[in-house]
Amino acid sequence: MSDTHSETVAYVRETILPPVPPPLAETGVIKWLRENLFSGPLNIALTFVGLGIVWIVVSTVGPWLFRAVWDAGSIAECRQIIAERHGPDASGACFALIKHRWNQFVFGFYPQALYWRPVLAFGLLFLALAPVLFSESARARRIVLGLAVVLTFAVAQALGAGTGALLGMLVLMLLWSALIEMRPGWSLLASLIYPFIAVWLLWGGTLWSPAMALAGFGIGYLVWRSLARFGMFAFALAVVVTAMWWLLLAGPAASALASMAPLRLRPVSSDQFGGFVLSITIGVAGIALSLPLGVILALARRSDLPVIKMLAVMFIEFIRGVPLITLLFVASLLLNYFLPPGTNFDIILRVIIMVTLFAAAYMAEVIRGGLAALPKGQYEAGDALGLDYWKAQRLIILPQALKISIPGIVSTFIGMFKDTTLVVFVGLYDPLKAMSDAIRASFEWKGAYWEPYVFVGSIFFILCFGMSRYSMYLERRLKRDHR
C-alpha cells in the first residue's frame, strides 16, 4: 500500500532552474524608499517628522554657519562685515574669535614658544599606549605609530618648535617606535616610564626630579626581588624603602645630579595650564593613576576577607554616591585641612588626586566585572600548579581580566575626560567655560556665545567619539576571540 503510494510521489528534477532576478518592485531605489521610509502610515508620518526636524536644524544653523566670518579683529567688526555682506538683520558665526584665540582654548596660558612640549607629550602618549591598546593587530598598531610620529612632528613644526627640539623629538619617537616593533616586551617598560617623561615635558625643570622619583620604584623593585623569598615582608620592606627614598634621598640626589648635568627644560608652573592641555593632563593622569588603585580595590572587593572587603565596598560606594563636583570642592576647600599643618600643594595636583580617587571607584567596578567574567577553572588551575595568590593574580587572572575590561576602561575614561570640564568650579581654566568666559571678558569678544561652544564642543566630540569607536572595535574583537 505504501509502495503504491510511493510510486505517485517519486519525482526527480532533471534540469536545475537558474536563479532569476526578483520582480521589479523588489529592487532598486523604489523598493528601498518603500521599505525604509514609506512602509506604512506610521512610517510615513515619522518620515515627515524627521524631514521637519532636519529642515528646522538646517534652516536655523545653516545660514549662521554659512555666513561665518573668519577674518576680523573683534566681534563688532564681525557683525559689521556680516551686515555688509548679507544685510543688516543677518546673523552669522564669528569664527574670527577662534582664529585669534584657538591657542588659548588648546594650550591655556602655556608659553607660546614651548607649545611643542605638550604636543610631544601627547604624541608620545600614543607610543606608550600602542603596545597595550593595539597589541592584537600589527597593522593597526603600525598605522597608529606612523600617524602619531608624523602628526606630532608636523604639528610641533607648525607651532614653531626650535630645530634642536624638533631633531630631539624625531630621534626619540623613531627610536621608541623601533623599540615597540622589535622588542615589544621592553616597550612595555618604556610605557611605564612614559608618565615621568610626560611630567618632565609638561612642567619642565630638571629631568632628574622625575628620574629620581622613578628610581624609587626601581629601588623598591630591586629590594623586593632580592628578598623575594621572605614573601610579604620583602614587599613591605620594599614599600618602606621606596617611601624613605622619596622622602629623604630623592630630592637631594636630584639636585646633586642637576648641579652636575642640568638637563633642564624651562619650568612652566601649574597656573599656566589651561584649555585642553589641562583637560587632557588631568584626564590621562587620572586614568593612569586610577588603574592600579582600581585593580587593588577590585581585588579587595572580591576578597574573602570580610574586613578588607568591607573597607573596599565602603570606599567605592562612598565615592560613587557623591557628585564629582563635591569631590572637587573637597580638593580645593578641604584637602589642605587633612594634611599636616604647613603642607600645601598645587591645586592641579589636588584635583588630580580627587579625580583619581573618583575614577578608581568606577574603575574598580569595571575591573570587578572583568574578574567575574573569568571562569573559576582559571583560579583552580593556578592553585593546582602551586601559584600563590599574588602570582596567580599577576600572571593569570589580571592579564585576562584587564583585557576583557578595556572597553569599560575606555568608557570610564571618556566619562572622566568629559568631567574634567568641571574644574572650572574650583578656579582652573578648563577649555569650555573658564576659557570662554575669560576670552569673552575682553572688550573685543564680549557677546560671542556660540562660537566657543561650537569649537570646544567639536573637539570634545571628535576625541570622545574616536575613543568610543575604538572601544566598540575592541568589544567586537573580544567577542570574536571568545567565540
Binding site: Q272, Y337, G342, D437, A441
Partner: protein, 319 residues
C-alpha cells in the same frame, strides 16, 4: 596657620596672590596669560616690597566660593580680590582686612527704556545677582526694608551676569557700582543703560591676609598706605628715584627709606616702599592706569580720591 608668612614667602621666592578669575579692570589674564588690573597691581607692589621683584607673583584665580578658604588654608599669602570688609568675615572667618583700597557701594543698572529712575521702583523686578557675595545679602535686606518683592536670577560669574542682563533675562543687574560701571562701559551701547542713583550698601573693598600673622598683616597694610601716601606726597614712579635723592620732605624721606630704616621694623630692608611704589606707581597712578577715567572702565575717583581732595583715601602717618 600662624607661621611666619614673610619667611615662607622669602624662602619660596614667589608671592602667592589670590585674585578674581577674571574681572576686567581689577584682575584678568590677557591672551598670553599675563595678569593685569587694580588688584593685580597691589599683588605686584607687595612682591616688589617683599621680594624685590614685581614679577615674582603667582596668581591664583579664586571664585567667590573658594577665595576665603584659599587664604585660610595657606594656598595664598594674600587675597587681593575685591572682597568686602565685613564684621563677620573679619572675625568669624578668621581673616584680617588690612585696609581699604576701593570704597564701593552696591548699585543697580537697568535699561533706559524700562522707564525706571529709582531703585524704589523695582518692585516685582527680576534681578541678576552673583551668588555667594555680600551683594546677595544686601539685596535681600534692601527689598525687605522697602517692603518690595523681587525675583532673583542667580548667576555664577560676572561674564554670565552680563550675558543674562544684555539678553534681557533680568530687568536689573546689581553688583558693586564699580563693577556696574565697568560692565556698562564695555557695552556697545552704554548710553542705553543707566546706573540708578541709590547705593544700597557700603562696600569697602580691600586686600585680606590670614588672621594671626600680625607682622605679615603689617607689611600688607603699610604697603597699601605707602601707595596711598605716595600719591598724597606727589611721589610717582617717574620721579621716585629723583625724590629719593633730593626730597627734603621728612615724610617722603622716611617713606623712601632715605633717613629712617622703617623697613627693619617689619622685617624688610629700607627701600621696600620705594620698590612697591616703583612697581606700578602710586595709588593714583594705579587707579588711572587700570580703572580710571582714561581706561575703558572709566571710573571717577569719587570716594576714592585723597582726603585732601574730598575723598576717603587717608594714609596713616609714616613715622
Amino acid at each position: 596657620a600662624e607661621g611666619d608668612t614673610l619667611k615662607e614667602v622669602k624662602a619660596r621666592d614667589v608671592l602667592n596672590c589670590g585674585v578674581n578669575t577674571g574681572l576686567i579692570g581689577f584682575a584678568a589674564p590677557d591672551a598670553n596669560g599675563n595678569w593685569s588690573g587694580f588688584d593685580v597691581a597691589f599683588c605686584k607692589a607687595m612682591a616688589a616690597a617683599v621680594l624685590g621683584d614685581a614679577t615674582k607673583v603667582k596668581y591664583v584665580p579664586t571664585t567667590g566660593q573658594t577665595r576665603f578658604t584659599a587664604l585660610s588654608s595657606g594656598e595664598v599669602d594674600l587675597l587681593a580680590r575685591n572682597s568686602t570688609w565685613t564684621f563677620q568675615r573679619d572675625t568669624d572667618l578668621k581673616l584680617d582686612f588690612i585696609g581699604v583700597n576701593y570704597f564701593d557701594g552696591q548699585g543697580f543698572m537697568v535699561r533706559k527704556d524700562l522707564g525706571v529712575s529709582s531703585a524704589k521702583e523695582l518692585n516685582g523686578a527680576t534681578i541678576c545677582i552673583q551668588t555667594g557675595t555680600t551683594t546677595e545679602l544686601n539685596l535681600a535686606d534692601f527689598f525687605k526694608a522697602n517692603g518690595m518683592d523681587y525675583q532673583p536670577v542667580n548667576i555664577d560669574s560676572n561674564a554670565e551676569g552680563e550675558q543674562q542682563y544684555m539678553a534681557g533675562a533680568c530687568d536689573a543687574y546689581t553688583t558693586d557700582a564699580s563693577g556696574l560701571a565697568a560692565t556698562r562701559a564695555s557695552f556697545a551701547d552704554p548710553e542705553n543703560h543707566i546706573i540708578l542713583p541709590e547705593i544700597i550698601s557700603k562696600e569697602p573693598l580691600g586686600p585680606a591676609v590670614r588672621h594671626g600673622d600680625n607682622n605679615w598683616g603689617d607689611i600688607a597694610r603699610w604697603t597699601l598706605y605707602a601707595l596711598i601716601a605716595a600719591e598724597e606726597y606727589g611721589v610717582t614712579s617717574a620721579n621716585i628715584d629723583e625724590l629719593a635723592k633730593s626730597s627734603q620732605n621728612p615724610e617722603v624721606q622716611r617713606l623712601l627709606g632715605t633717613t629712617d630704616d622703617m623697613g627693619k621694623m617689619i622685617g624688610l630692608d629700607a627701600e621696600w616702599a620705594k620698590r612697591a611704589i616703583k612697581a606700578g606707581g602710586n595709588y593714583g597712578e594705579i587707579f588711572a592706569a587700570t580703572i580710571g577715567e582714561q581706561t575703558p572702565i572709566g571710573l571717577a575717583r569719587g570716594l576714592n580720591a585723597q582726603w585732601t581732595q574730598g575723598g576717603l583715601m587717608y594714609a596713616m602717618p609714616f613715622r
